[in-house]
Every structure is written in structure tokens, then in C-alpha cells.
């Protein structure tokens, strides 16, 4: 195992050890025995996972392993796919999100999402951020809304770049700015958890670095789950890593453990680049 423990990847992951001693409360989200089906096909098989506000949780694994599918199960975005079906329990603060009394609209306001490709609405930057607060009635008057917009853009690290052109179209920004706009948009409705589905895969390295920095700043305030193809990224930004393979959760634990001392042979093969 020596070769793994000294790899650059592992050294990066060791940094996450700094957070090892943080006290955690109850998990923010708790998934137990979750299966996801597309029609007859089982895409996720019996996954158990806890998500903490204090940590960034990364999902890694080869393409088609089900990590995005599972992520979308966490705020019921799979509901938009008619053939998708979820069994098992996923709880948010102890409340089953698949219970019949659950209001999906409220759930998604509490569990926000950022997508692989930046998808700002074809509206102004201001209206992109104000969209969520408006539909959830978070702001009574214009000054309140202005406040929310500024606060969200500041948290997403975009305020300085766009404060003079809030009326410009959100689609006119660069790719990296668009993605931070989407993060700001998710923040604006004051969620408890933010799910990120490969948020940097369409971005260049500089924009990626900015997003990763941002994720680190947001940690602690929001529970963050990030799906990523890049193991370096998982090692850099997360404190917990889950490795998915063929619909199974192979291994879940401290990021430093996963990258320095994996228990499973399959995890070791994946992080050393033998497949995937």
C-alpha cells in the first residue's frame, strides 16, 4: 500500500485530515437501503449514506456507476423521469422525503442543486438570483430582494465581477461565472443542502479552482454533496468520499482513508487508475 499512501492524490487527501476532529451532530441526510430503478433496470442497489453539514461529501466512480442517479434521488429530481422509481428511505432531518405527505417543492427549496452544465435562465443576472426568492415568497419588498441578491452573489464570490451589470443577461457571462451564478441562485433560497452534479466538468482549470474554493467556503453553512469524475477534485474539496461502482456503494469513509488506505480492492484499482 506504500505506493498509494505516498501518491500525490493521497497527499492532497491527507489535508482533509485537518477536519477530522470536527464534532458532527446528527447527519443532515440519512439514506438507508436505497434502490433506484429505471423501468425494470436497477441503477442503484441498496445504498446507505449519511450526509453531514460539517463535511463536503464527494461521490466518485466510473461513468454509469449510478452516482448522479443517487444524487438526484436526494432531492427527488428523479421524479421528472417517468420511468424512475426509488425504494428504501432517505431522510432529511429525520423526515422521510419520499413519504406521501412530503411537499416536493418545499424539499427542493431545502435541498438545492447545481448541474453539470451551467444553466442560467435567459433572464438578467438579478432575475436569475431573484427567481427562487420570488417563487418562495422570501422577500416582501424590493430592498429585501436586493439584499438577498447581493448576499447570494457575495457568497458565490461573483458580486465584485457583476455588481455593475446586474441587468445584463445571465447567459452572457463566461462559463465559470455562469456556474457561480447557478450556485448563487441555489444559495438564494437559503437551502440546507446543495447537491452538485459534476459542477466543474464544463469549466477550464481556473474557473474550476474558483468553484472549488467556493465549495470550501460554503462548507459548514450548507451540507454539500458533489459528484465528480476527477479524483483530484474529490481529494481537494471533500472530507467524506463515497466510491460507487455498477450501482453499488463500494466504500464510504474519510476522504484521506479512501485515498490512502482503501479497504476494498475495487476502490484501490479505481484510485490508482487501473480502470474507470
Amino acid at each position: 500500500m506504500a505506493e498509494i499512501a505516498d501518491s500525490p492524490l493521497a497527499n492532497q487527501a491527507k489535508k482533509s485530515l485537518e477536519h477530522e476532529n470536527i464534532e458532527t451532530g446528527e447527519p443532515k441526510m440519512r439514506a438507508r437501503d436505497v434502490d433506484v430503478y429505471y423501468g425494470q433496470k436497477k441503477a442503484i442497489d441498496s445504498v446507505d449514506i449519511d450526509v453531514y453539514t460539517e463535511f463536503v461529501t464527494a461521490f466518485i466512480g466510473p461513468s454509469g456507476c449510478g452516482k448522479s442517479t443517487f444524487l438526484r434521488a436526494l432531492n427527488r429530481m428523479n421524479d421528472t423521469i417517468p420511468s424512475a422509481r426509488v425504494t428504501g428511505t432517505i431522510e432529511l432531518d429525520g423526515e422521510d422525503i419520499y413519504a406521501s405527505g412530503m411537499d416536493v417543492v418545499q424539499l427542493r427549496a431545502r435541498v438545492g442543486m447545481v448541474f453539470q452544465k451551467p444553466n442560467p435562465f435567459p433572464k438578467s443576472i438579478y432575475d436569475n438570483i431573484a427567481y427562487g426568492p420570488k417563487i418562495h415568497g422570501l422577500a416582501e419588498a424590493k430592498p429585501d430582494l436586493d439584499n438577498i441578491v447581493e448576499k447570494s452573489l457575495r457568497r458565490a464570490g461573483l458580486w465584485e465581477e457583476v455588481k455593475d451589470r446586474l441587468a445584463d443577461s445571465g447567459t452572457a457571462l463566461s462559463g465559470g461565472q455562469q456556474q457561480r451564478l447557478c450556485i448563487a441562485r441555489a444559495i438564494a433560497v437559503d437551502p440546507e443542502v446543495i447537491l452538485m452534479d459534476e459542477p466543474c466538468s464544463a469549466l477550464d482549470p481556473i474557473a474550476t479552482a474558483k468553484i472549488e474554493e467556493l465549495i470550501d467556503e460554503l462548507r459548514g453553512r450548507y451540507g454539500i454533496v458533489i459528484v465528480t469524475h476527477s479524483m483530484q477534485q474529490a481529494a481537494r474539496v471533500s472530507q467524506r468520499t463515497a466510491f460507487f461502482h455498477l450501482g453499488n456503494l463500494v466504500e464510504y469513509g474519510h476522504t484521506s482513508d479512501i485515498f490512502t488506505n482503501p479497504v476494498e480492492k475495487r476502490t484501490q484499482d479505481y484510485i490508482t487508475g487501473r480502470y474507470g
Binding site: 429530481m77 421528472t80 427542493r108 427562487g132 417563487i135 447557478c182 441555489a186
Partner: protein
């Protein structure tokens, strides 16, 4: 020799050239010990065939135009023609009769004087037929020989054939454009004649429309041709009333079909809606004139309206609106479907309901396409003829009351062209001027719509 035998002959020669050239090219290959030659034998064959067929057909085309004149000249030069009346219908009839007998289309002449002309006609027809055929054959042989001499193992026949195909495609695409230009030219010609009688300013701004078909071009009565009431009627029926029906209905059905309908419902509802677009407009016309118009009059009467018209603008407009629904809904459907799923997911993931997502994200994003669809629908509505001919009125009236009778541009075009008036009267020519205005307006609407659609497409690719 008739045109069809000539064409068959040319094609036969072409086929012969094709076969000869092909076997010659095959021979190159054998002589080359099976090594590759620059072009496949088939290309050599087509090259030769094209050189035979194309020039001869071009000649035949020209010849068919001039041969007729040559024949007539020959006949007129004959002594028998000296007795012909100098001008007019009788002269034409006699020539036509003699020709019919000479070509075998008729068995005898009605006018005995024409009998003398039969013989010169036969003589001329035979002579020019022979000349035509000989020249055709010569051209075919010359073309074939020219092509045949150029066939060599290293001759690139395929690039030549490619070029010929290219010009064929170009000509085919030009036909549509040239036809449009021809239509415009003929419209412009008659419109200019009309504006020679009636001042364009008076035509476009006058409010009194009562063309008199009994007058001829020398006494046009310009003050009777103020077209504003027609433009107003067209606008009121085709844009205001029809769109009040078509836009909400079309939008709502598009949103339902695109966002809410289960696949099973969609598979039969969408074709059903499209069938609406295929119903002949004359059928809508019946419906408007026989069902809707009387119903509207009865309702208006029961509401206490004095003397409601049985040809109300409302009836024509409502039915036209229904006719337009599929155009609006199909364009709106396409544009909403073109909005990326990511946009919709983004909104849903914010905790927006489906209804909020549609209202605040999908429709605004699809708006350019929707607007373009509405403009195309408008240009269709104002050009629509059958419904208004059957359900609208002949009375030109400037009124904002939808229960009153109104007329439209298309109605007046039909009325003025099919009436008793002679071709050079102002009232007939007015139809062309109206048609020209209509053409310009719909052209502009279509161009704007296409521009919008194009820009919209670029935005999402």
C-alpha cells in the same frame, strides 16, 4: 415529326452514346492490363450521353419556338395567302383551320377560302420538320463525336459529370425563385397600370370603397378606390378577432401537449390538432356562414342588439381563429420543446412548481419562436380567402363593432376579378393593387418571423 418522337430519338441516341462510350472505357481498362483508369467506365458513358442529349434538347427547345414562325412566313409568302383578310379574327381563324387540316387534327375546313392554304401549310411543315430533324441529328452526332474523341484512359470524366449534376440541381432550385419573381413582376405590371388611373396616396388613405365595374379605364372615378376600410376589415378580422381566439388556444394546447399530456394522450391529440390544419378552408367557410354567423346574430338579437348583421366580422374572425390554432400551437410546441431540459431542471431544482416553471422560464425562453409562429399565423390569416368570401360581407365599412358586416382585401380581390368588368377597368386592376399590398405585407411578416426563428435557433445550439 412530333415532339415526343423527337425526344425519343434523342434519348435513343443518348443511350447509344452511353453504351459505346462505356465499352470504349472498358477497353481502356483492358488495354491498361486492368490498371486503374482515371474515371470509372460509367462516368465516361454519362459524359458522352450528356454531350449528345443536352445540346440537342437545347436546340429542340429553340427550334420549337422559331419553327412555327418560319412555317407561317412560308404560308403567307405563298400565292394563296394573298386573298387573306389583312387583320382580325377571320385571318387568324383561317390560318388555324388550314393548319389543323395540314397536321391531320381536323378532316375538313369550315371556311372554303382556307382550303387553298392547306397545301402551303403541308409543304412548309414537311420542309421545316426535315430541316429540324437533320439539324438535331447533326448536333447529336457532333456532340457524341466530340465527347468520344476526348475519352482517354487519363480523362477525368467524373469531374465533368459532377459539374453537370451540379448545374441541374442549380437550375431546379432557380425554378422556384424565378416563378416567384414572375408572379411579382406580373403583379407589379398591373399595379402600375392601376396607379396610373388612381393616385397611390388616395388608394392607401381613402376611406370610400365602392368600385364601379361598369366604367372602363378611360373614366376611372378615382375617389371610389379608398382601400382603408378593406385594410381595416382585414386587420380586424384576421389579426384582432382571429388572434384573440388563436393565440390563447394555441398556446394553451401547446403547453398542455408539451408539458402535461401523457404520451398516450399526446399520440392521438397532436395528430388530431394537425388534422385541423388540413381541413380545406372552404369547409371552414361553410361552417362560418351556415352555423356560426346565424348563431351570433341570434345571440346578439337575444341580447337586445338592433339589426345585427348576418355576415358579422365576428363570425369570420372566430372561425379563422380556429383554423389558425394548429399553426400557433405547432410553432409554440416546437419552441418550447427546443428549450434545453437543463433550463427546466434548473427551475424545478429551485423548488418551482411545474406551472411556475412554464410561466417564468419555459415560455419566456421560447418566446421568440412563439412570436415568430404568431407572425406566420397572422400572415396566413390576412391572406385567407375562402372563409371571408363565404362569411364576410361585400360592404366596406370602418367600424370597431364586431357584429357589423365588414369586408377584407382578399374578399375584394375575388369580387373585383370575377365580376363583369373588363380587364382594363379600374375595378379589375384594383384587385392587382390589393394583391400587391397583401403580398408585400405577408412577405415582410414572413421575413421578420424567419429572422426571429433563426436567431432563436442559434441561441440554443
Amino acid at each position: 415529326m412530333s415532339a415526343s418522337t423527337l425526344i425519343l430519338l434523342v434519348l435513343g441516341l443518348g443511350l447509344a452514346g452511353w453504351l459505346v462510350a462505356r465499352s470504349r472505357a472498358a477497353m481502356f481498362r483492358r488495354a491498361n492490363d486492368g490498371k486503374r483508369i482515371a474515371s470509372l467506365p460509367n462516368y465516361h458513358a454519362w459524359y458522352a450521353a450528356l454531350w449528345i442529349v443536352v445540346p440537342t434538347l437545347l436546340f429542340a427547345l429553340v427550334w420549337s419556338q422559331i419553327a412555327d414562325n418560319l412555317v407561317i412566313q412560308h404560308v403567307l409568302a405563298s400565292p394563296a395567302a394573298a386573298d387573306l383578310p389583312a387583320f382580325g379574327m377571320q385571318r387568324q381563324t383561317m390560318l388555324a383551320e388550314a393548319r389543323a387540316v395540314a397536321t391531320g387534327a381536323a378532316s375538313g375546313v369550315f371556311n372554303p377560302a382556307a382550303a387553298d392554304l392547306v397545301e402551303p401549310f403541308e409543304e412548309a411543315l414537311t420542309r421545316y420538320n426535315i430541316i429540324g430533324m437533320v439539324v438535331t441529328l447533326l448536333i447529336a452526332l457532333a456532340g457524341g463525336a466530340w465527347a468520344f474523341l476526348r475519352l482517354k484512359p487519363d480523362f477525368r470524366a467524373h469531374t465533368r459529370v459532377e459539374r453537370a449534376v451540379l448545374s441541374l440541381l442549380l437550375i431546379a432550385s432557380l425554378v422556384a425563385i424565378l416563378t416567384t419573381l414572375g408572379i411579382v413582376a406580373s403583379l407589379v405590371f398591373e399595379t402600375v397600370r392601376f396607379f396610373g388611373m388612381v393616385n397611390p396616396i388616395d388608394f392607401l388613405t381613402g376611406v370610400n370603397w365602392s368600385p364601379n365595374p361598369m366604367t372602363d379605364g378611360s373614366n376611372p372615378d378615382p375617389e371610389r378606390y379608398g382601400a382603408v376600410p378593406l385594410f381595416w376589415g382585414t386587420f380586424f378580422i384576421g389579426v384582432v378577432i382571429a388572434m384573440i381566439v388563436a393565440i390563447p388556444m394555441g398556446m394553451m394546447s401547446a403547453i398542455y401537449l408539451n408539458q402535461y399530456a401523457a404520451p398516450r394522450v399526446r399520440t392521438w391529440l397532436k395528430p388530431a390538432l394537425e388534422v385541423l390544419a388540413g381541413v380545406p378552408t372552404v369547409v371552414y367557410g361553410y361552417f362560418a356562414a351556415l352555423t356560426i354567423a346565424p348563431a351570433i346574430r341570434d345571440i346578439a338579437m337575444s341580447l337586445g342588439v338592433q339589426n345585427p348583421s348576418s355576415e358579422s366580422a365576428l363570425a369570420a374572425g372566430l372561425v379563422m381563429g380556429v383554423m389558425i390554432i394548429p399553426f400557433v400551437s405547432s410553432m409554440a410546441d416546437d419552441s418550447i420543446a427546443a428549450v434545453p431540459q437543463a433550463m427546466k431542471d434548473g427551475s424545478l431544482a429551485m423548488g418551482a412548481t411545474q406551472n411556475e416553471t412554464i410561466k417564468r422560464v419555459l415560455v419566456p425562453a421560447a418566446l421568440p419562436g412563439i412570436v415568430a409562429g404568431i407572425m406566420l399565423a397572422i400572415s396566413r390569416a390576412i391572406g385567407e380567402t375562402m372563409i371571408v368570401v363565404m362569411a364576410a360581407s361585400a360592404t366596406a365599412r370602418l367600424s370597431a363593432n364586431p357584429l357589423e358586416a365588414m369586408t377584407t382585401v382578399t374578399y375584394q380581390i375575388v369580387a373585383n376579378l370575377t365580376g363583369e368588368a373588363s380587364m382594363d377597368s379600374a375595378s379589375t386592376l384594383a384587385a392587382f393593387a390589393l394583391g400587391f399590398v397583401l403580398f408585400l405585407v405577408t412577405l415582410v411578416l414572413n421575413i421578420i418571423a424567419l429572422r426571429i426563428v433563426k436567431r432563436f435557433r442559434e441561441a440554443y445550439e
